[in-house]
């Protein structure tokens, strides 16, 4: 089943077409990578899918529900979670509380429950905390649960952001350049985590990435964007050899010298 369907998705910023007529689908359980040179429009696609930016034309659908015009928090409730290219953790909050934020859309205590501290409210809070610790432990982060998030090293902050997104209990996770700023060792760990997202937690993953080694290693399929237009789609081997992709990244000189 296709979790995510994108049809003729288009975004215009004034006169600039950031994304044009994009079509792709993400099937349940797969890991799809969205790649392309800088400025190709990848993050814009994410922003449209998660409601942070409006869709100029075309449709985006999560299973059968149309995402056009839906506010971000509703989209999260549907089952799309995301991380950001430049990490957007809640800087002054602790790691644990950052993850707790993720649980917000899956819990129900409101003002009344907070004031009266009903048994249900306490139970909910406690359960969320326990689950948060579980998730953090899965990623080796439970040791820093009380640290203020902006004090953590970059690699750990990335991890926390992923855990926070997981707390929203998504069916599909949108990861925006998760390897950015990570060194080789951290990237290896990240790759293991992403693989586990699928194998252990049964999540579908849509990922934007520049690190080709990682992309080729963990993706089932790849969609390539250049100047907002899809120029190729297929498995890692096909994409690696695709001349249009090579040209987009390296320019035409390369092709000529190999002609």
């Amino acid at each position: 089943m296709n979790l995510l369907t994108v049809e003729k998705l288009t975004k215009h910023f004034g006169g600039l077409a950031a994304v044009s007529d994009l079509d792709f689908t993400v099937a349940e359980g797969e890991i799809l990578a969205l790649i392309g040179p800088n400025g190709a429009g990848k993050t814009t696609v994410f922003n449209m899918l998660t409601g942070l930016t409006g869709i100029t034309a075309g449709k985006a659908r999560f299973k059968d529900t149309e995402l056009n015009g839906m506010p971000p928090f509703r989209i999260v409730e549907l089952g799309l979670g995301r991380t950001f290219q430049n990490i957007r953790l809640f800087a002054k909050m602790s790691v644990l509380n950052n993850v707790m934020v993720g649980f917000h859309c899956r819990t129900r205590t409101g003002l009344f429950g907070a004031l009266i501290k009903t048994p249900r409210a306490s139970r909910e809070y406690r359960q969320a905390q326990e689950r948060a610790l579980e998730l953090l432990a899965m990623f080796g982060l439970d040791g820093v649960k009380d640290e203020i998030s902006r004090n953590l090293p970059y690699g750990q902050q990335r991890g926390v952001e992923i855990v926070r997104a997981l707390a929203t209990d998504p069916q599909i996770l949108l990861l925006d350049e998760p390897a950015a700023g990570l060194n080789i060792a951290e990237t290896e760990i990240l790759m293991e985590h992403i693989a586990r997202l699928r194998s252990d937690l049964k999540k579908t993953v849509l990922l934007i990435e520049h690190d080709m080694k990682m992309v080729m290693n963990i993706s089932d399929r790849i969609v390539v964007l250049d100047y907002g237009v899809k120029i190729a789609e297929g498995g890692p081997d096909a994409i690696k050899a695709d001349p249009r992709v090579i040209e987009a990244y390296l320019g035409t000189g390369f092709r000529k010298s190999h002609a």
Partner: protein, 319 residues
């Protein structure tokens, strides 16, 4: 912290005994007034410290509460105990008039909107003379009664404001330490990220406005029966600035911060007999100095100090 309950008990006893120990009317008046400022500061910080919404017109909501109480008691001869909650609700309802249209404004623009609104309130109270008697104000507001007991002495008012303040602090505490509180803090740190994590930030921003102004209305209601006379000048724009400055000095987003701020900004000048005009001079200076040296306020400064002495965990040092 096994002995925590002991500290609470001692604190409670001290608070209880204060009016029996202090007989000076002037000091009791100061303490009672400080209680009101504390209520206003804490409730205001719920709006600013917790969601980052600049509210520079908080005193106006207290004015609304005061007038509702005064009018209900004077014109309709209702009991204070009915007027009190209605004042809070009335102020909260009025806050929707501000909160909803300005939902999309941020920072200074929101601040100016709240300022403008507080002016509108003041002008309305001034001009609607048929109801409010305009600049002449409403004198002779009756004292609250409970059965045969009349709240007349400073001691009785002290206990009342103490109860109201504790109620306010309790509610704010519960809110901060709950699912709602987590959402609020997220909104304050990064509203867009909060929305991306499933939080309906607009709803919470309004919620917090309504709750905060509810307590302001209650504080205003207390003021009305405490001094028995109110006028449109009872709650000035300058008061809103003072209320705003209090959590800033003490530490925004905390429970204790606004309380400390209220002590510093109100009690200190009073206690040192600083002339009223010069007080605002100090407020201005203190604001600048605080922002330039320790924007997180006194509490923030203490935390930073404490942090320097904390042992590093896992090789990661707390800043």
């Amino acid at each position: 912290m096994r002995l925590r309950w002991l500290y609470w008990l001692i604190g409670g006893i001290i608070l209880f005994l204060i009016p029996h120990v202090i007989s000076d009317e002037y000091w009791m008046h100061m303490i009672i007034t400080t209680g009101m400022w504390m209520m206003l500061a804490v409730s205001m910080d719920l709006i600013y410290g917790c969601t980052g919404q600049l509210n520079l017109g908080h005193a106006a909501f207290a004015a609304v509460g005061a007038y509702i109480t005064a009018l209900l008691m004077l014109r309709l001869e209702w009991s204070y105990w009915l007027a009190l909650p209605l004042s809070g609700l009335g102020a909260a309802a009025v806050s929707l008039l501000v909160g909803v249209p300005t939902m999309r404004l941020k920072g200074l623009y929101l601040g100016l909107a709240t300022l403008g609104f507080s002016e509108i309130v003041r002008l309305t109270l001034l001009m609607w003379a048929s109801v409010t008697r305009g600049p002449m104000g409403l004198p002779g507001i009756p004292l609250p009664t409970f059965g045969s007991f009349t709240f007349e002495s400073k001691t009785s008012f002290y206990y009342m404001i103490l109860a109201l303040l504790l109620f306010t602090v309790f509610c704010v505490y519960r809110i901060i330490h709950s699912r709602v509180g987590i959402a609020l803090m997220a909104i304050r740190d990064d509203e867009i990220a909060a929305r991306a994590m499933g939080i309906d930030s607009s709803r919470y921003k309004i919620l917090v406005f309504v709750v905060g102004t509810f307590f302001a209305g209650i504080a205003g209601s207390f003021y009305a029966v405490y001094v028995s006379f109110i006028s449109p000048d009872s709650f000035k724009m300058l008061d809103s600035f003072m209320i705003f400055a209090m959590p800033i000095l003490g530490g925004i987003g905390t429970l204790v911060g606004p309380l400390i701020g209220a002590l510093i900004l109100y009690v200190l000048p009073e206690a040192t007999r600083v002339f009223a005009q010069y007080r605002m001079l100090w407020v201005g200076i203190l604001l600048v100095v605080t922002m330039v040296t320790q924007p997180l306020g006194i509490l923030g400064g203490l935390e930073t100090l404490a942090g320097k002495f904390r042992r590093p965990k896992n090789g990661v040092k707390a800043e």
